[in-house]
Symmetry: C2
Subunit: 415 residues, 2 copies
């Protein structure tokens, strides 16, 4: 890397100005934002991004999946593109930093590179990916860009078919356009993302930057514990086949299993649905929304087996039937070694402490990991708050992250 590059820094005030403008769109009383994919607030944030790109004299690009970007031609016209980015959608009643910081920092890196008239071996693109959070599908824009999206992903979306069709219509997208957004391996130099940690590890360790080693995979099931509806007054306790007992015992035992034997993993029972669901009827059926995460594929297989055995055991202990519906998986994604090294060198040059971390959350990088070199960095989340209006990262840490993103992009783009 040319020596002059290492003294470059992003402009913290300019970045803060953009960040603040964006945070006002869909702002909630609690200090967060509410921008589920293709909601009015999300569409407004997308319009703001487009106008901001154009007002700043960048080329605005939009693909068939609704991914929006600023393109900076700082390399040959035939040079591959290094994408920097994140997403502008939020979970319902989410925070200001998740996604937005990465998009704003990416654009700030492009501004910094352009104003310093830097030539690289790559062109740069600052991207807002569509529907990262999964209001509709999850990692939708990045899957489309990576060529992984299939028509069936659009036909049984987790947010419901009607909502997806309606949202795509509002955003001017179609199934056909979605499936046409794939890019080639040759066109891509890599993908870098700055994100908040969404956990407490950096804060507890007092470290500036987390360099992501892997994005955990996610497996999910709907487990149905099935007993028998009976009158809750006239049926003796002994005679009941109460579905709540299997569901409750499984939830408690799954937590203990993971804490004892799978310390790299997490498990969540995010929802139970009771049927028939009345005060005076013994529950005949409880549907359990189960999700578990691991950074390692072998560990996934072991955990999967252990959890399903546990469900079967707790189910039969209470005389219940068990039905298991596998809802899908995202495999764990390893981050690229060269990108990790570039992040580490950038931190060292900037005098910032860093540590390796796995990402417990899914991110767009996992869609791209088999297509091009992918890397991510985290900055500390105060008290680990995430997907909440309480989400907060000190501005100094945001600036640190943007500078590491800049320096790593310069290294990778001139190497």
């Amino acid at each position: 890397m040319p020596q002059a590059f290492s003294s470059l820094r992003i402009n913290p005030d300019r970045m803060l100005d953009s960040f603040t403008q964006l945070a006002a769109i869909g702002a909630t009383a609690g200090g967060g934002v509410d921008r589920p994919t293709f909601s009015e607030a999300h569409l407004a944030a997308r319009r703001w991004f487009r106008e901001h790109i154009e007002q700043n004299g960048f080329e605005f690009r939009a693909d068939g999946a609704g991914n929006h970007s600023a393109f900076l031609s700082c390399g040959d016209s035939s040079a591959p593109t290094l994408i920097l980015g994140s997403h502008l959608d939020s979970v319902p009643n989410g925070g200001r930093f998740d996604g937005a910081l990465g998009v704003i920092a990416a654009l700030e890196v492009l501004k910094t590179v352009r104003e310093n008239r830097i030539s690289l071996n790559v062109n740069l693109e600052a991207m807002d990916f569509t529907d990262e959070e999964g209001t509709l599908v999850g990692l939708l824009g990045s899957a489309a860009l990576a060529g992984h999206l299939r028509l069936e992903n659009l036909q049984n979306p987790r947010g419901g078919q009607e909502r997806l069709v309606e949202g795509m219509k509002r955003a001017g997208l179609s199934d056909e356009s979605m499936l046409s957004a794939a890019r080639t391996k040759e066109s891509l130099a890599g993908y870098l993302e700055l994100h908040i940690e969404q956990g407490k590890r950096l804060e507890r360790a007092g470290v500036n930057i987390g360099i992501v080693t892997a994005i955990v995979g996610i497996w999910s099931y709907r487990l149905s514990f099935i007993g028998k509806a009976d009158h809750a007054g006239t049926t003796t306790m002994e005679d009941r086949r109460d579905a709540s007992l299997g569901a409750g015992a499984f939830t408690l035992a799954a937590r203990e299993l993971v804490m004892r034997d799978f310390s790299n993993c997490v498990v969540n029972v995010g929802k139970m649905e009771f049927a028939p669901g009345a005060f005076n009827i013994v529950p005949a059926r409880v549907d359990v929304s189960l999700e578990f995460r691991s950074p390692d594929e072998d560990e996934f297989n072991r955990l999967d087996k252990a959890l399903l055995e546990l469900a079967a055991r707790e189910s039969s202990r209470f005389g219940l039937e068990l039905k298991m519906e596998f809802l899908g998986r995202h495999s764990p994604s390893l981050m690229d070694d060269k990108v990790r090294a570039a992040f580490a060198a950038a931190c060292d040059d900037l005098g910032l402490s860093h540590m390796p971390l796995s990402s417990g959350a899914g991110h767009d990088g996992q869609s791209l990991a088999d297509l091009c070199p992918v890397g991510m960095i985290f900055v500390p989340s105060v008290d680990g708050a995430s997907h909440s209006p309480r989400e907060f990262t000190k501005w100094e840490d945001c600036v640190n992250g943007a500078n590491v993103l800049l320096q790593a992009a310069l290294r990778l783009g001139s190497g």
Copy 2:
């Protein structure tokens, strides 16, 4: 009792014909009936009952609470009324016997008394009480008749305000009419009801008739276990305050407590509601629908204390807050000794075995127990099935029950 009375029997074929006509109204594919209060099917059953009463030459009566009855003047015009009855509404997708058997048997008793030109010290009334099952309020017609109904019971009904208003409108009822249906103590000689057991005790014991000692009381709460919504991937297992753990542990422990220390009681967690309720968010709040029943007031107080302490303990074990909303109580109701003795004597005369039983279900008799002598008998439920299309009682047992009802009414009405 005049000796001639003891040879009287109801007409089994005539009763079966009426029972079968009624069971066809709102019949479901599974062999049950679906007649929630003031549904089309329920209104049709009510019309059938009215026409049947009138075609059989009885006086049809309707009060302001929508209670319908056949009146038989078999005593002085100033004599008190002995009410026999039950209800024509069903739970959604319920059975043919629950309620309907008691109404049909009551009317059959009146037919038998009339055709034998019997004079008694009481007049007889065969009654269908409004909304016993609680689609709208629960024990609604009997509470109104007993003078216990208050305007506030109509303003926060368990079935929802809109549904109650709409249903009352369809049935031609109003708040004012409801509150005007009260009868006086002096006007009533008692209330007798034949019902299916809804449990397995008679079948297991091989006994013909259960003579109810008490109708259990019901207390209900909404318990809210409150933790913190967090990202289910990035929050370590140790850092979570997962509301599902308190709710699950409480459900399991409540069952153990009742089975160990409160063998006369039952407890049910019929529903849990998770918030926010997503696969990838640690549950912040679980609302638990808790109901427990006891035939004894002192035991209720002990069980209440023990359950709430348990909820507090399981809640704090997982770092959760607990909110408790008391939703109401029905006190246990003791059946009248004289009525019980009349049932027992009737069984003995008929050569039917009998045993004392508490009723785990609520019944209209509990509304009337402080107003007049109340008694109930149960006939065996095959496999204990209840509130289900599988509900079944052998016709021979139905006939036995109707004859016990007849004989007890004759004893009480001529004593």
